[in-house]
Symmetry: C2
Subunit: 456 residues, 2 copies
Amino acid sequence: MSDYEDKPGKVLRVALLGCGVVGTQVARLLAEQADDLAVRTGARLELAGIAVRRLSHPRPGIDTALLTTDATGLATRSDVDIVIEVIGGIEPARSLLLAAMEAGKSVVTANKALLAEYGEEIHAASRAFGADLYYEAAVAGAIPILRPLRESLAGDTVHRVLGIVNGTTNFILDRMDGSGADFGESLEEAQSLGYAEADPTADVEAFDAAAKAAILAGLAFHTRVTAADVYREGITEVTAADIASAKALGRTVKLLAICERSGTSGSGASGSKASGSGASESPEGVSVRVHPAMIPRSHPLAAVGGAYNAVFVEARSAGRLMLYGAGAGGTPTASAVLGDIVAVARNRLAGTRGPELSTYADLPVLPMGDTLTRYHVSLDVADKPGVLAPVAEAFARHGVSIQAVRQTSRGEDALLVLVTHEARDADLAATISELQALPVVRAVASVMRVEGEGDQ
Amino acid sequence: MSDYEDKPGKVLRVALLGCGVVGTQVARLLAEQADDLAVRTGARLELAGIAVRRLSHPRPGIDTALLTTDATGLATRSDVDIVIEVIGGIEPARSLLLAAMEAGKSVVTANKALLAEYGEEIHAASRAFGADLYYEAAVAGAIPILRPLRESLAGDTVHRVLGIVNGTTNFILDRMDGSGADFGESLEEAQSLGYAEADPTADVEAFDAAAKAAILAGLAFHTRVTAADVYREGITEVTAADIASAKALGRTVKLLAICERSGTSGSGASGSKASGSGASESPEGVSVRVHPAMIPRSHPLAAVGGAYNAVFVEARSAGRLMLYGAGAGGTPTASAVLGDIVAVARNRLAGTRGPELSTYADLPVLPMGDTLTRYHVSLDVADKPGVLAPVAEAFARHGVSIQAVRQTSRGEDALLVLVTHEARDADLAATISELQALPVVRAVASVMRVEGEGDQ
């Protein structure tokens, strides 16, 4: 005997705001899977309307009678129970979601930018109006990551989240790694294959990944984190030389979203963060950053190819988890939206809501300069004695300890590759500035942070 | 302002049944993380008592005043809200859980054997008494897999679940693959390192994995599946020759839990299952099986080493997901139990329950003989003309199509390796019997199923 058979005739009405790549798939799946969804939630989910910008745009498979340009009217209509926002961007999505929640609707959104920037306001409205708010699709598409952080790990202490959360940049870096091509060529290839947009800024400058990092860090550390708190470096400066240098050391380059809890915590976290040097101690707080980094080829994230996403989570009791899957695309993202629709529908029928966002830990977000990182530096130097000493002195002057040095002769020249232990990012950056001015250094060929050592 | 601050003084009392490897960690974490758990759930979680078999057993860090041998009394005590069962096995766990639910307690269990065998009874009691029932820790330790199947993928159609869900056998197979050692030696090593028990039957004969497969299949396909429905083959018959044969073909051997939906479904699943041959059509139903299988080394599951677990899920909209992490161990399993405790505590405070088990699809479980599989067969044959024809005829007589053949000369002898297209398992087995009787075949050196082609 199923839930649905218990309560025949129950109906929940769904308003869809936006009918682009994701919205079209949500509408299709709501129709195609109507019978299954009815049994699984306990009520039929009926599409009440679809808000679009232009009625005239061709939308195969969509019932035009459902279309409206009055998004606010639809989102607050008295016969609507659940509002799905898949418009993206800040406005009008923000106002629509606020209006929907004020009108007592349960809300599902895939809008990472909105949540990363106005998350506090949106969550406050959800609390104030008792409205359910789910957004699994906002991070890493179909990969279940927010629910595990919010629920499965609710009895654990997360130390670190390390993720490949942008498929476009992962595709580009994968191509650069595979073919030796430079950034420009690989971007063009990604564009021609539909993996990158005509204006690729949001992806390649890592705005997209930074928004996701803010959401992940907030959930992982029970702390308010906004997009503005996230240190952000895109992949446009990654060179073929960087990739080659990584390869020579058994590493690969990935754009990583990194959320780390550092220092000793008041919440019982017993500072398990392994440090190579042991010399540095990071102040208590969280570090949230997105930048290209070299990781060992044996790291679980190194094998994440093409436009796939993966999130690596390290928790005190659970240990290391990795969640992997399609990070974008209309259908995978729609799967995550549908999962959330079922959740809010079940909650609505039971007269309850999902867990509130908890931000009680209220940890400070550390500035990038105070974050402990490791650098990989490769220098073009003259192949003669007396080169290493001034280079080593530059590192020492900034308190940066060196983990490994390798010099490769190339005739007159030599390539000097150094990998540091953990140090304050500001000290590492200052060291690089000093190296650039050293007479023995002809050029700094590649500088990149190193992550994920010891994660395997 | 947190939930907890909203409702100061709320307390939920927790009874712990069992204080072994997992129970000890649950008790420790409840105490160590008390403040965090209070804020995250909205009530303090107090340990009301711990039921054990022998009071005299030394338990460092456990308050002996909490211990009792009266498990039933504790599980039904009027001041207890939540009952955690980490005893394992069928009795007394079954009776205790039923009594606890009848007494209105919310229940969390890590008991895979009980759920795989008496799941219907336990779920019926949960429904009848309105008692919450969570069991994330029963499958794959700390890896969040049941919640994603029950909730994140609630709006999707799962086609297949392919998992490495037993760490002991994965450790043994990993050693066999790495060192060329045989099963016996690798088992001894696993035992000496604490990865296998003195009586390893439950692991190596795949009873443990079969119970987990039953639970996974039930949730994935909304269908009742019990341990008795699962076809089960352990790893005791896997030889060093099998491992070597897999290696030669770029494959590796894993003990897989395989849950597949086959045939066209009435629920809108549009039969996306790729078949190598296209000739065979499987009847509608689900196939649930646990057996060693060769998978390509490039498959995401191939890289899962040591005692780790991973579950690969293929859904119609979400595409391919993989969830990876620690599959066993006291602390990781306790992390999953704690996550469930927070969930039932939140539900209890909100006066609601988690989603019910849905079994509405009620698909038939196919017998193994009717399941479509692929075989890898390696034969010792004479290195002379006229060998391949009778071998090929044996396959053809049973309607089995061959995908690849490779013959390697070894002087007088040759090794003939064949990989088939998909065929009914019964037809493949009948073919092998016939090959064993063929005069040209000196010995059947290795027979193993092949899985995961085309999953990358």
